[in-house]
């Protein structure tokens, strides 16, 4: 199975807790968003925050996305806490 490369952005509290604003990740093609979160969480603390109790929202290519969304090459993924603007 071909590997694909995606970028992952982290925002707000999550960005601070993970100490990461953006990274490039190589994953197998057609991995879902849920599987990506699981893989990242396996890095150990603090990454298990992605699958923890506090809600983490996700966007793929700048649109809100659900856990079942399959990821494609060059996708832009973002993880963030519930929004609090306005």
């Amino acid at each position: 199975m071909t590997d694909v490369t995606i970028t992952v952005h982290y925002f707000a509290r999550l960005r601070e807790q993970l100490g990461t604003e953006q990274e490039t990740v190589t994953i197998p093609a057609n991995l879902t968003l849920a599987e990506l979160k699981q893989r990242l969480a396996e890095r150990g603390a603090p990454w298990q925050l992605l699958t923890g109790e506090r809600p983490v929202l996700a966007a793929v290519n700048q649109a809100m996305a659900k856990n079942a969304t399959p990821l494609q090459d060059r996708d832009e993924v973002a993880f963030f806490p519930p929004v609090t603007g306005g």
């Binding site: 952005h9 925002f11 966007a59 700048q62 649109a63 963030f80 929004v83 609090t84 603007g85 306005g86």
Partner: protein, 158 residues
């Protein structure tokens, strides 16, 4: 019919926004606006400022989409949404939403809908800066409820 969406760290002139809304059309009879300001308490008291983060690119798309949603539901002419990011101090303007319409009921409803939607659907995150430190603001149940309100009359809506 032109809408305006701006996400920027610079302050904005609400008067200029009002002026633009006035010039929409001879059929414009109503302009409703909302301005949000940094106040001295939120989740904590003694707030001295806010830090606002957003998701560049996605934010603007989401807001244009929300204006599209408003346009489908109400008879509105023009909508202008400005949201600031970065560090803001007490009393500073955070957000402006202005809507012009022929009818006041539509202008009010669309303006309030857009404000509620900004709080629950647009990728902004607020951190309160207080004398005792800083902390990320938690999303409020009341905001979720106010956001959900707009969907209650659309049973087929997601």
């Amino acid at each position: 019919m032109t809408d305006h969406v701006l996400v920027a760290s610079a302050d904005f002139d609400a008067a200029e926004q009002l002026q633009q809304l006035r010039q929409t059309s001879n059929a414009t009879g109503a302009i409703a606006t909302f301005t949000g300001l940094v106040r001295d308490y939120g989740d904590h008291s003694n707030v001295t400022g806010l830090f606002l983060e957003h998701y560049p690119g996605m934010t603007e798309q989401v807001i244009h989409g929300l204006i599209g949603d408003a346009r489908e539901r109400w008879d509105i002419q023009s909508a202008r949404v400005i949201h600031r990011v970065g560090t803001l101090t007490l009393g500073e303007q955070i957000v402006f939403v202005g809507v012009s319409s022929s009818h006041r009921a539509d202008a009010f409803a669309a303006c309030e809908f857009l404000m509620d939607a900004l709080k629950t659907s647009a990728p902004f995150w607020k951190k309160e800066l207080t004398r005792d430190g800083e902390h990320w603001v938690e999303q409020k149940d009341s905001d979720r409820e106010r956001g959900a309100r707009w969907h209650q009359s659309d049973p087929g809506d997601d």
